[in-house]
């Protein structure tokens, strides 16, 4: 594939992803359901692929690029923690105990159930 056509494919993929994001936001807004637009967009794009409305090869370059840098997009939220400094200072013991124990127990229960029940073939 030439460089230009692979770039066009990337652009097309991004366009589709944003169309589904917009659809998700629209449904969230119009039907007033408490599931955010991006999660609805994720479900819709899966359904569209399953029903063969769009091809996987059209979306793959753009979606792979977005997923590769997904961690980067969280950094500004991480920096945002600095705004809650006073609150965290007052309640950090309760918040950390609740967060750490809940996360570890949830990780363990989920992983052990999946590991015990899943089939490898």
């Amino acid at each position: 594939m030439s460089k230009l056509s692979s770039q066009l494919l990337m652009l097309k993929g991004f366009l589709w992803i944003f169309i589904f994001l917009g659809l998700g936001e629209l449904i969230n807004y119009a039907l007033d359901i408490p599931i955010p637009g991006n999660i609805l967009g994720m479900l819709l794009i899966f359904i569209a692929l399953k029903l063969n409305i769009i091809q996987l090869k059209t979306l793959k370059p753009a979606s792979d690029l977005l997923l590769k840098y997904m961690v980067l997009f969280f950094v500004p939220y991480g920096v945002g923690l600095m705004s809650y400094y006073d609150f965290i200072e007052s309640y950090w013991v309760i918040l950390s105990v609740a967060a750490v124990f809940t996360t570890l127990i949830t990780l363990y229960i989920t992983a052990i159930i999946q590991q015990k029940m899943e089939r490898h073939d």
Partner: protein, 236 residues
């Protein structure tokens, strides 16, 4: 002197330098706490505090980067379709694992906050702590908590799960990479999923779908649990 930090390019460039610096650091030193999100966020906070720049000024640029989180979540749907055939035969254990994990998460955080006598506003704000930030904030709005506290705790949980999760699970005897992926997505939402994608595309697919399923499950359950705890605490 022109105040460079007033421009949105400041936040973007600072984040990119911190992030790719953190990636390079982890390449050199393979240590669990050298997690790119953790190191980059800490480095940026340090720069901002030392040079007396507010988060609002930083986020003028930062918000352009966090904006891409939404299309990245949509892209998880594409990844899931790609891996769907591989997951299909394990659908039942997968759903069982995510639902158990999601319910345990809500119960555990509820019981802990009751035992520690947490103020009502904390209970209302942190019950959805395992799910992805946008969903957690929606839930907090339904329970009348403070969304910014939710966001802070949810991100902290994500970074914690991302940095500690795989090591902890190996330590307690989990060998299956797909089980680690499912657990990361259930307990630590998108930031955990980002780690699962680093482990491999298949754990990444399990993790992304786990995040989605648990997000919907928690949306349906958490508001009722909060109402129940509040009435329990105020009646005892």
């Amino acid at each position: 002197m022109i105040e460079l930090y007033k421009f949105s390019i400041f936040g973007i460039v600072l984040t990119l330098i911190a992030f790719f610096g953190a990636l390079a650091l982890r390449e050199k030193l393979k240590f669990v706490l050298f997690n790119p999100v953790l190191i980059a966020s800490a480095a940026i906070i340090l720069v901002l505090v030392l040079s007396d720049i507010s988060f609002a000024d930083y986020n003028k640029g930062g918000k352009y980067l966090s904006f891409f989180l939404s299309p990245a979540i949509v892209a998880l749907g594409v990844l899931f379709f790609e891996k769907y055939k591989v997951i299909k035969h394990n659908m039942y254990p997968f759903i069982m694992a995510v639902c158990s994990g999601g319910i345990i998460s809500i119960l555990c955080v509820s019981i802990l906050t009751i035992i520690m006598n947490a103020p009502e506003v904390i209970i209302k704000s942190i019950v959805p702590l395992s799910v992805t930030t946008p969903i957690a904030i929606e839930i907090t709005k339904m329970t009348y908590g403070i969304p910014s506290i939710t966001a802070g705790v949810v991100i902290a949980v994500g970074i914690f799960g991302n940095a500690i999760g795989p090591g902890f699970l190996k330590f307690v005897g989990i060998k299956s990479k797909t089980a680690i992926g499912t657990a990361l997505g259930t307990a630590a939402h998108g930031i955990g999923t980002a780690r699962a994608i680093e482990i491999g595309p298949l754990p990444g697919a399990y993790s992304g779908l786990a995040m989605c399923v648990n997000g919907v499950l928690t949306t349906l359950m958490a508001p009722h649990v909060v109402v129940w705890i509040i009435s329990y605490v105020s009646s005892s």
